[in-house]
């Protein structure tokens, strides 16, 4: 109770310093927030592209239904496979006509359907790497009635490389932004505590325990960090909204991430306060 009362009183006594600290925390976390939104959207875009990774096994025209059933059963039984769709020769022609309407003339003059039947194999998320795709293709190609297996090897390889680069880049930049934000927050809280070092000295002088001295500062650091985190979330949302409305549609980060950002502000505040107060407690 004392800690809460003192923390609120300290904020009331020096509102400018509190706003300054919360503002610095907010700006530091705002940069992290923008980075998170950009990273999240890149991740989503890559995932959407990755969802289009599929294996297509083209079968000969004279294949028997039981042979098709055997292949389908084997493919469905693989852990990598989410779904298997059979596309008959007629369906393939219909789809080609729809997808390639500019070549309609080419399709109308045909005496015979030139397109083969096929199995389109969808893969589970997490099994869209070049290795997984190649394994499914290999199983399909073992069957003698399978004429060809297509999955765009180069495209899958490139996509995988892009995701790896993205993951490394995100981790490195994320850690760098996080460290910079932590340093800024620590500095902001230390400035606030430096301004009150005499108060710490006086508390020690009259016989306050370390816990008694520390608690209000930790709480104040938490509240300042929390306010900074909320402000940062608001600024990030405003930036997201502006891009969404004025530039192109992007996605907002999951709510748990936003709440995590706010709590991170609070935790940084506590941590920075603990380190700064510890220093002054050692001095007296």
């Amino acid at each position: 109770m004392h800690a809460l009362r003192e923390a609120l009183a300290a904020i009331r006594r020096a509102p400018f310093l509190t706003v300054l600290s919360a503002g610095m925390v907010a700006l530091a976390l705002f940069v992290v927030g923008l980075f998170t939104v950009v990273t999240y959207n890149l991740h989503q875009a890559l995932t959407r592209v990755e969802e289009r990774v599929e294996v297509v096994a083209y079968v000969r025209d004279d294949v028997r239904p039981e042979e098709l059933a055997a292949l389908e059963a084997e493919l469905v039984g693989m852990e990598e496979v989410r779904a298997v769709h059979f596309v008959s020769r007629e369906d393939a022609l219909l789809a080609a006509r729809e997808d390639l309407s500019e070549f309609e003339d080419l399709f109308t003059g045909l005496d015979e359907n030139p397109l083969p039947a096929s199995f389109e194999v969808e893969l589970h998320p997490g099994f869209r790497s070049p290795e997984s795709v190649a394994r499914v293709a290999e199983v399909a190609s073992i069957y003698p009635f399978v004429e060809a297996v297509a999955y765009g090897r180069d495209w899958v390889d490139r996509l995988h490389l892009l995701r790896q680069i993205g993951a490394i880049g995100t981790t490195v930049l994320g850690v760098a932004f996080g460290v910079v934000a932590a340093l800024i927050i620590a500095t902001a809280v230390r400035i606030a505590i430096f301004a009150r070092r005499d108060e710490i000295y006086i508390m020690r002088l009259v016989g306050a325990t370390n816990g008694f001295i520390r608690r209000p500062f930790l709480l104040e650091g938490f509240l300042t960090g929390l306010a900074g985190g909320l402000l940062a979330t608001g600024l990030t949302y405003a930036a997201y909204f502006a891009v969404y409305r004025l530039v192109f549609p992007i996605e907002w980060i999951p709510i748990e991430w936003a709440l995590g950002g706010v709590m991170t502000g609070g935790l940084f505040g506590i941590l920075a306060s603990a380190i700064a107060v510890r220093r002054y407690l050692q001095e007296v």
């Binding site: 006594r13 005499d198 006086i202 508390m203 020690r204 009259v206 016989g207 306050a208 325990t209 370390n210």
Partner: protein, 228 residues
Amino acid sequence: MIKLTKVTKEYPPRGRALSDVSFHIRKGEFAFLTGHSGSGKSTTLRLIHMAERPSSGEVRVLGFSSELATGRDIWKLRRRVGFVFQDFRLLPGRTALENVAFALEVTGSPRRERIPRANHLLEEVGLSTKSEMSVDVLSGGERQRVAIARALVNEPLVLLADEPTGNLDERAARGVMELFLELNARGTSLLMATHELTLVRSQPDARVLELDEGRLVYDSELVREESA
């Protein structure tokens, strides 16, 4: 009450602040600690308050030894040893009453007892009419009285004062001295560091300890014993 035995304090690389200092202050005693600036007066008081530990030797205060005292012992000790500074060391932006009550809050005194007790102390130091005023608007003498009230609010057995009249005019300084004499008459041991010799001479019955370049060069008690 306070016993220093062969105390030396060094601050490498600056050098030695105290060399082989020994003295004993008994219960109810009033002693001046005199000497020029830099003679080691403030260091001695800081060692007694256990804000620092000696490089060698032992400081023993109210049964707590500098060699053994833990962090917990130190805050217990500080609740029984009041400290008054030349620059008051009050919490700015708070009232006189809040400053005094704060020392009670720190010791876990119940809320309902804090305000009456703090008010009582402010009345004792002659500031009952200014208890609700911010310490920022009080005069130097008044601030020092608030600091004294704060130092006394937990009924200390010992009061340490570091140049408590240094920032005060003659009248205010006299008022503070009268307050100290009153406290001492009620049994509080007092050790006051000062370089103002007129103040020391005004109290011929008080004990005088003089430091020079970190060494205890004069102890009026020893001189009296020798002449007796």
